[in-house]
Symmetry: C2
Subunit: 210 residues, 2 copies
DNA sequence: CTTTTTCTGTTGCAAAAGCAACAAATTATT
DNA sequence: AATAATTTGTTGCTTTTGCAACAGAAAAAG
């Protein structure tokens, strides 16, 4: 995520700040939080990476969002209307800060410097979430697996400023992220290679066009 | 959109407030704004309804978002990475307020009451956008046209608190909103009727399950 | 270092979705 | 009120995607 204020510096100064903020560590595959209850939680990932995953009634798994350092997540962002399970799962060892959203908006405001600063930059924080989600929607509205793949590769490519990059997750996960069948996606990857659009070795992709 | 503060009252008191805010009226099919240039615009729809529409290179049209009274939109919410055209088009006569986002965050803050109030409620405003987009993503990640239709109908149904409702747009537009082929969607609607899931007369839908 | 588990790559077949085209119905326009 | 434009409903055919199943590769666990 693209945050305009200096999250690192901000987080570094956290320790001797507000006692209401909890910092927890999770190991691989642990569930960081679930979006079932209404806790109005806002979480920030300090290290590691994690996925927001939905399991639907047909047994499909969807990676709704992928989080890396300094990304924000939590129920504040999600009006849980669905009866599907929504979990944030650690992909590797993760450190996470837990806030209560109401504390950022109200209570702590006047007395706690930490929450006050966070409140100050809250619009930017949430706004970067919005732009992220809009990019995700643009991907998902592409009509074919091919266009979804190319769209995704373009995003990653421009993020790393390089035509060549490693995918941030496994191909199995990529299929769940693009919301398509894995084997169909593998087939399309092969075709993209054959048609000279990309090169692919393991999960390293090189774009050959433009 | 679900805003927690009283947008109506807020808008009503606008007239004798800040001269930087522009109010414009658009007639049906007019382009309210385009997301090509970087103007950092934030718009609020006071009346009417409009769509954020994307036209891609394959000639597909996608309704990215649908806006009705008091919904917010504009480039602030969208990091335009794509080379596709992104337009907000009026579906009927629309009144729209135009803000510059920076004015809300910085300049006007101390002296203009209107911007000050808006800044105050900005996190809530943006947050409701986030939850909207998340619902949209949930729809788009459904694997079949049937599930997309049912998911969408559930949303509308719970919004109107009724199993029976009129669709807020035409079936042609619904297909563009769900990002599927229109004729395939029509076929699926027929099947949903035949299978006893829904009843349908024109664009009035009645849910027959649960 | 060996075993177990997960991930990758592939395929044949079935199902779903897209495309194209058209007539009928509805809605706008003059 | 007549004409034009758009939307709805339908269908045959084609293409794409999904499903199931499996073998080999790679990664994780013991």
């Amino acid at each position: 995520m693209n945050i305009t204020f200096d999250m690192k510096k901000f987080i570094d100064n956290f320790e001797n700040s507000c006692h209401k903020v909890q910092k927890k560590t999770f190991s691989k595959n642990e569930v960081i939080t679930s979006y079932i209850e209404k806790r109005n939680q806002l979480c920030i990932l300090i290290s590691g990476n994690a996925d927001l995953v939905r399991y639907d009634l047909n047994g499909n798994r969807t990676i709704v969002e992928h989080f890396s350092q300094y990304d924000a997540f939590g129920e504040v962002f999600y009006a849980v209307t669905t009866n599907n399970e929504l979990l944030v799962e650690a992909r590797e060892k993760c450190e996470v800060l837990f806030y209560i959203y109401d504390d950022i908006r109200n209570k702590c405001r006047s007395n706690c410097k930490f929450h006050q600063m966070l409140a100050e930059d809250l619009p930017e924080l949430i706004l970067s979430k919005v732009t992220d989600l809009n990019m995700r929607i643009e991907l998902l509205t592409k009509r074919s697996i091919r266009d979804k793949l190319l769209g995704y590769f373009n995003l990653v490519s421009s993020r790393y400023l390089s035509k060549s990059f490693s995918l941030p997750f496994s191909l199995t996960d990529l299929a769940d992220y693009l919301s398509v069948d894995r084997s169909a996606m593998m087939r399309e990857l092969k075709l993209l290679k054959e048609d000279g659009f990309i090169d692919k070795t393991g999960n390293r992709i090189t774009l050959l066009y433009k």
